[in-house]
């Protein structure tokens, strides 16, 4: 159909009804006469939000950009598994906002957004402060559905069974438990069903915990009780486990006893459909949904995630508010830090064009997720995405996995590039 749409039809569409507001042009023209310095407020200084803030200022230094993030130090989830494996320190995965503030002149407020008033175009902060915006970008990451697993709660996560799916104190707790475990102990990892943040994350974690155990506690075992029937990069992980950690890691699919019904934190056990499993260290990764503020702001649909227009990541529910990163539904893109950052840049460019009275250009989005299986053994999955009339789809023939028959040189090169990737993306976002 519309591939042959004429320029006239395009303009008509753009400036009428739903089409206009879906593109945000409606909101733009309402404010076309406003003061020169347009205000963008960004909620969350993680992979999506910090990227958007930096690229907004890079594209148009005259914008007033305010980033609201409660954490002074942001520990990245990427490479937090490397910390568990003894290959990185917490210090090495710590990022901060000094460069965004000093070099890019982003106003960084150490605060939390508690509510959004879409009609008045303001956000209210925990401190009581109210901040106005012309465009709002929301990148709050995920929230956990603690109720989904009986016996599990935020309190249990913070004391006995960490999820470690937000880096920081949770990572430190899980690491402490691993260090305290006896040789011959059992580590249980319980990954959630799809969709969730970082699909290969739990399996990279199993690999790098195995790396630590192999060195320090070689009689120990890892049991993965999965809510799914298959998982990301499964062939590559399984092969890597057989080569590096033979007999150490056991994976059970949902239908073969992997589905977790409840946990008993005092007995340190996990109850599956096939009965209880006792563990010395238990890592429960609960099901997820968009970050809390996305619910508060009414940006979420019945799926628990935020529907957005894939051109500018503007909410399909509230014009003028863009949702990026894990919280949004971005078609074929996975919930990764790389994807969140890619979306942050596309959104920044779209907003700048809207402010200038131009239509956003069609987005180009990318993802690469490296997973480390051992210190010199890396694998990756890549994707290049484009916009079609069906939304964001992966470009056929591009992207894909490290080949199953990759030789040791390639695996070791990928491990090296994984390290390089971390340094460069951290610099591209916070540096």
């Amino acid at each position: 159909m519309g591939q042959n749409i004429s320029r006239r039809d395009f303009s008509k569409l753009l400036f009428t009804g739903a089409a206009g507001s879906a593109l945000g042009v409606g909101a733009f023209s309402r404010r076309a006469g406003a003061a020169n310095s347009r205000r963008v407020v960004v909620v969350g200084g993680g992979f999506g939000g910090a990227s958007a803030a930096k690229y907004l200022k890079k594209l148009d230094p005259s914008l007033s950009v305010t980033l609201i993030e409660p954490k002074a130090v942001f520990y990245t989830c990427p490479f937090s598994n490397w910390v568990l494996g003894g290959l990185k320190t917490m210090q090495e995965i710590a990022q901060n906002y000094a460069v965004l503030k000093n070099r890019y002149k982003v106003v960084v407020l150490a605060d939390t957004v508690v509510s959004v008033d879409g009609l008045k175009s303001t956000v209210k902060l925990k401190s009581g402060k109210v901040v106005g915006y012309d465009r709002l970008i929301v990148s709050p990451g995920i929230d956990f559905d603690f109720e989904a697993i009986e016996g599990y709660s935020k309190k249990v996560a913070e004391s006995k069974m960490p999820h470690a799916y937000e880096a920081g104190p949770q990572t430190v707790l899980l690491q402490k438990q691993l260090h305290g475990m006896k040789d011959g102990g059992k580590v249980i990892i319980c990954p959630p069903s799809n969709p969730f943040r970082c699909p290969p994350g739990p399996y990279e974690r199993a690999s790098l915990i195995a790396n630590y155990l192999k060195e320090k506690k070689p009689k120990s075992k890892i049991l993965i009780l999965d809510a799914k029937e298959k998982f990301s990069k499964q062939g590559l992980f399984t092969k890597g486990w057989e080569r590096l950690y033979p007999g150490m890691i056991e994976w059970r699919s949902a239908s073969t006893g992997g589905r977790v019904l409840s946990v008993d934190s005092s007995a340190m056990s996990v109850i599956t459909e096939f009965g209880p499993e006792k563990g010395d260290v238990i890592n429960v990764i609960p099901p997820q949904r968009a970050g809390k503020i996305a619910f508060e702001a009414g940006l979420v649909d019945s799926s628990g995630w935020c529907p957005v227009n894939p051109i500018s990541f503007e909410s399909l529910i509230h014009p003028g508010i863009h949702v990026i990163g894990d919280a949004c539904m971005a078609g074929a893109m996975p919930k990764s830090g790389f994807a969140a950052s890619s979306q942050g840049k596309v959104t920044a460019a779209a907003i700048v064009r809207l402010f200038h009275g131009d239509v956003p250009v069609a987005p180009s989005l990318v993802n690469t997720c490296y997973s480390l299986i051992g210190p010199g053994y890396g694998v990756s999955v890549a994707g290049v995405y484009k916009l079609t009339t069906d939304g964001i789809v992966s470009i056929k023939g591009a992207g894909g996995l490290t080949p199953m028959d990759a030789d040791d040189d390639q695996l070791s090169e990928e491990a090296t590039f994984a390290r390089g990737w971390y340094n460069n993306i951290a610099q591209d976002i916070w540096g």
């Binding site: 569409l13 700048v352 890549a382 290049v384 939304g391 894909g400 390089g420």
Partner: protein, 113 residues
């Protein structure tokens, strides 16, 4: 996805194809920046650093010529040049898109100076 949305997406894609460099000025960019090239190029920075300035073992683009970058990307795309991951990425771009990316990184350092 609703029909209205589909139509809108189609419209934006057609429009995007007709956006030419030079017609849209960004505050800190010179007239030479093609917005389509820029959006394509932003993706690369996640591995190769902002403006293609790498701080790691991953190669920098900064200061390289558009011709060199275009050739390298095309060689990755055709498989003539080996790499772990670039072969998978380069296949996602048309020759015209590769030219735009190469032009962006081949000139960004001149614009910055």
């Amino acid at each position: 996805m609703g029909e209205k949305m589909k139509l809108l997406l189609a419209a934006v894609m057609v429009f995007a194809a007709s956006v030419h460099g030079g017609s849209e000025l960004m505050a800190d960019e010179t007239a030479a920046v093609n917005p389509r090239g820029q959006i394509l190029a932003f993706s690369c920075a996640s591995c190769h650093g902002t403006d293609g300035k790498s701080v790691s073992i991953i190669p920098s683009f900064y200061g390289k010529s558009p011709e060199y970058l275009e050739m390298a990307l095309k060689d990755f795309k055709s498989g003539k040049r080996y790499s772990t991951v670039m072969m998978r990425h380069a296949k996602g771009y048309t020759d015209e898109e590769i030219r735009l990316i190469a032009e962006y990184y081949g000139t960004v350092w001149q614009n910055n100076n």
